[in-house]
């Protein structure tokens, strides 16, 4: 009876376990992030004053430092930051001159659209290429696909983006090389089609990060299935290898592939930082780079926290997907 209840509630148990982890992980990560950002040899007052350096005298600097609590020791500043966070105040971005929380809320949509598209693009491409390679195991399509996976994993993603621009935007002129909308228009004024054409190149760039792991993983799973007695049985009934791989092998491979892909979703964020910078995509990745180059500590911390939560959710979804695909995992601790 008890065992059955446990079995039915695997999801609740998983969620509870993750909640507990979140409770200890987030404060530790916050302390780590705060330490990193305070270590930076940047004078926050100088970063704030910036170009208006001639208009700000030493007394004003001292007043700003005092008002910000910069003279307090590090633990006290950390505590101050935490209490502000608890009140929903993430501080003000220096580079954008706007509240950090508003900025993140405003820009998260563009980033999520980009990362989400890249996620499904990588899944569709990587998974089908992996199955195809498994079906053609040892023959030239398999070699070609495996070669592609290895080459992609060794290529800088931003270099691929530049080549894509060079071919599809400059050479052929099919796709725009910049931004989320045509110049001078806002997202509301842009048609869906135009928005989609602007999305293609950045999304392909981000998806490159995840494709090679996905190809190799789904290929390995499908190969394992194709060697199983079940597959031999079906082959004896006349099923072709392609049909075996795509009709039956897909079921065996999809769960693990999805798990690997979800667990790697964080890496797509890393890819989006570079892609957003190249394509001037108005998302969080671009803001991260501007925050780091502009010594914008509040924005950097806010984005890092948001990213941490994103990765956490990705891992949680990966675990749920794994358990949905393979019931044996549900009973394991």
């Amino acid at each position: 009876m008890d065992l059955q209840l446990m079995r039915r509630n695997w999801l609740a148990r998983l969620l509870l376990e993750r909640l507990i982890r979140l409770i200890w992980l987030v404060p530790l990560a916050m302390a780590g992030l705060f330490t990193l950002v305070s270590l930076a040899p940047v004078d926050p007052v100088q970063a704030y004053v910036g170009a208006r350096v001639a208009q700000v005298g030493p007394e004003q600097r001292a007043a700003i430092a005092e008002a910000w609590g910069l003279n307090a020791p590090a633990p006290e500043r950390f505590w101050l930051w935490l209490s502000h966070l608890a009140a929903g105040d993430f501080g003000t971005s220096i580079t954008y001159n706007a509240p950090v929380l508003d900025l993140i809320a405003q820009r998260a949509g563009a980033s999520l659209a980009l990362i989400g598209t890249a996620f499904f693009l990588a899944l569709a491409l990587g998974f089908s290429l992996g199955l195809l390679a498994a079906a053609m195991r040892g023959r030239w399509p398999d070699r070609l696909i495996r070669g592609l996976a290895v080459v992609l994993s060794a290529s800088p993603g931003f270099w691929i983006a530049i080549l894509l621009i060079s071919v599809f935007a400059v050479g052929l002129g099919w796709l725009p090389a910049c931004c989320a909308t045509p110049p001078g228009l806002t997202a509301a004024e842009t048609s869906l089609g135009a928005r989609l054409t602007h999305l293609i190149l950045p999304a392909v760039t981000v998806s490159v990060v995840g494709i090679s792991a996905l190809i190799l993983h789904s290929r390995a799973r499908a190969v394992a299935f194709l060697e199983s007695p079940a597959a031999r049985h079906l082959a004896a009934h006349g099923a072709s290898r392609l049909r075996l791989a795509f009709r039956y092998g897909a079921r065996h491979a999809l769960g693990p592939a999805l798990t690997v892909h979800l667990a790697g979703a964080g890496e797509l964020v890393g890819g989006s930082v570079l892609a957003e910078t190249i394509f001037a995509w108005p998302g969080l990745g671009q803001a991260t780079v501007r925050a780091a180059t502009g010594a914008d500590a509040p924005l950097l911390l806010g984005i890092a926290l948001a990213t941490l939560l994103f990765v956490f959710c990705g891992n949680l979804l990966a675990d749920i997907a794994a358990r949905l695909a393979d019931p044996r995992l549900r009973e394991m601790r």
Binding site: L25, L28, A29, G32, L33, T35, L36, V37, L39, A40, P41, V42, V150, V151, S153, A154, S155, P156, G157, F158, W159, I162, L163, I165, S166, A169, V170, G171, A177, G266, E267, L268, V269, G270, G271, V273, L274, T277, I278, T288, V289, A292, T293, L300, A304, T307, L308, V311, F312
Partner: protein, 284 residues
Amino acid sequence: MTDASLSLRPIGFRSPLRRALIWRGGLVTAVFAAPILIALALPETGPAVSAATRNLPPSLAHPFGTDALGRDMAARSLAALAVSVKIGLFAAILSTALAVVLGLAAALDRRLDRIIGVLTEMALGLPHFVLIMLVAYAAGGGIWGVVLGVGLTHWPRLARVLRHEAQTVAGADFVAVSRALGRPQLWIARHHLAPHLLPQVVAGFVLIFPHAILHEAGLSFLGLGIPPHLPSIGVILSESLRGILAGHWWVALFPGLGLMIVALSFELFGETLRRAADPREGVA
């Protein structure tokens, strides 16, 4: 290097694995040494700036073309690869050292294992590249920012492998026998632990390297890494963005290709080493 580190499993001289190791090792050495040697042979000042040779497409005189300042891209790319390789090397050494220390400490002491487990969890809680950016920012950017950013973030995978390997060996029967025979701890570490761990360390080091140089290039590309006055693939590629819309594709294609070849050859070599070190793998 290969002989001593692969003593774990005897490999026949004619085995395909041995042959793959030899030619991939040779390839890596060539790819690794070539840009450094050529860059050393080049004049200190770097390729000359000249208005007459601006934005030339690839030709016999300039196989990789020239950039907007008329500099020969072949010479620039090689010099940049040399810088990338050197920085990747520093970062990979730092990461490997960290992985060895943390992996062994975790295997030997239960309390340390807990702490290192939490550290690993935190390091993996952020996307790799975002963490690298943060560490580079904390270190104040520049070359040290890159080395620390890349070096301090690539240890978790190898540390986990080493922790597992050390725990397995320490619990093995032959270690228990040695203990019963009264062998000192150091003897056991030297004769039992080292032969098992060394191949993993070597393979891990070679496999960290391609990640290190790719991330280094990414940081420098964003302007958070190697300062723009030094030649580096990331800086060259970020400059190439300006020319790309005018159709100057060669300024981007060749330097990136060079970086890819360096990363790829290390990846293949490291993968072969890893397979040679892993007794569960069949001979390639």
